[in-house]
């Protein structure tokens, strides 16, 4: 019993220490954001998708990216691929619906680009989007920044 109580208090201190608040993750102004921490950059009917700085920080070092096939149909809110980090696979959710026209093959050799350059070299897919109205379901940079703060404040 005493060892259990000791463990409980140690665990509580671990919980405080292990949470790593790095201040504010980078959030870019001209992008739209999903609550599952993906970003999308829209140019007419063409969209580029990746995961945010907040997401890559919480994932840890990415060692593998599972990419969809070019030509695949994807739907807003559905999984289109996955990343692996620290022995955990996490699915990546699409912020838009449409057809995948290009995937970032560089990620096959350098999955760490997702960590080092989440908004540029670490982009994941390019999509021809069907319905730009769907973008209204996403957050702008200000809302997303607040969302991240609230989420990090939960623990």
């Amino acid at each position: 019993m005493a060892s259990r109580l000791l463990w409980a208090s140690r665990a509580a201190s671990y919980l405080r220490i292990s949470v790593f608040h790095r201040g504010f993750s980078t959030v870019l102004k001209d992008l739209k954001y999903a609550d599952s921490h993906e970003w999308v950059k829209v140019n007419g009917n063409s969209a580029t998708v990746g995961i945010t700085d907040h997401a890559q920080d919480h994932l840890g070092e990415v060692v593998y990216v599972e990419l969809p096939e070019v030509g695949a149909s994807i739907t807003q809110g559905d999984s289109f691929g996955a990343v692996e980090s620290v022995k955990a696979t996490s699915d990546v959710i699409s912020p838009v619906s449409g057809e995948v026209v290009e995937v970032n093959e560089e990620l096959n050799n350098s999955p760490g680009l997702v960590n080092s350059s989440p908004y540029e070299k670490g982009w994941i897919i390019k999509v021809d989007i069907k319905d730009s109205g769907e973008l209204n379901n996403l957050m702008d940079s200000e809302k997303y920044t607040k969302f991240c703060e609230e989420e990090d404040g939960k623990h």
Partner: protein
Amino acid sequence: MRVARCLEVWKMGTINYLESIKLQKKLVSDRKTNKISDTLLSLQHPLTYTLGKRRTDHNMLIPMSQLKKIGAELHYTQRGGDITFHGPHQAILYPIISLREIGLGARNYVEKLELTMIELASLYGVKACAGQKGETGVWVGERKIGAIGVQISNGITSHGLAFNIDPDLNYFKHIVPCGIADKGVTSLRKETGLEKCKSQRWEGQGSFKGLQWLC
């Protein structure tokens, strides 16, 4: 302010691997729609080898025919991590929890799984620690005592951790465990020399440990 949360613990005894996958899929789906609360499965598997999403089957060192002879199964999974072995007297925890609800990322979650095993080992006087970068898991010196492989789908976890109480470590010779060739495996039995390392007792303690940091 932290909201009170509920964790339901299932102590399942020995369960076939595919049955556990089927169960986890159902629980993940139910957790996603909030039909159930966070759930923790505590169990053992019969002789089983599993591979992760990257399908690193070059780390399986014996052919299927020999696997059949020794009575072991091989399964491909969607979890992270490399090849591993599960068997009697290895204690397994599969937490089905919503990381999204508590705002936790993969890295912090896995750290907590490591801490669970480290603290449990310390109860038996074994000094274990988390692996260095790229070697997620729990180690006693250069020997691995606990492995982790997780899947996170829509922010809900499945699969989890496997802690060696007293499995037959010879079964690890048929693989390159976790893809790490130059390090060994160990167990609580091997580190403590204790004659009786009852897995049933661990099931109680292990799920209790898992409970501690989730609440």
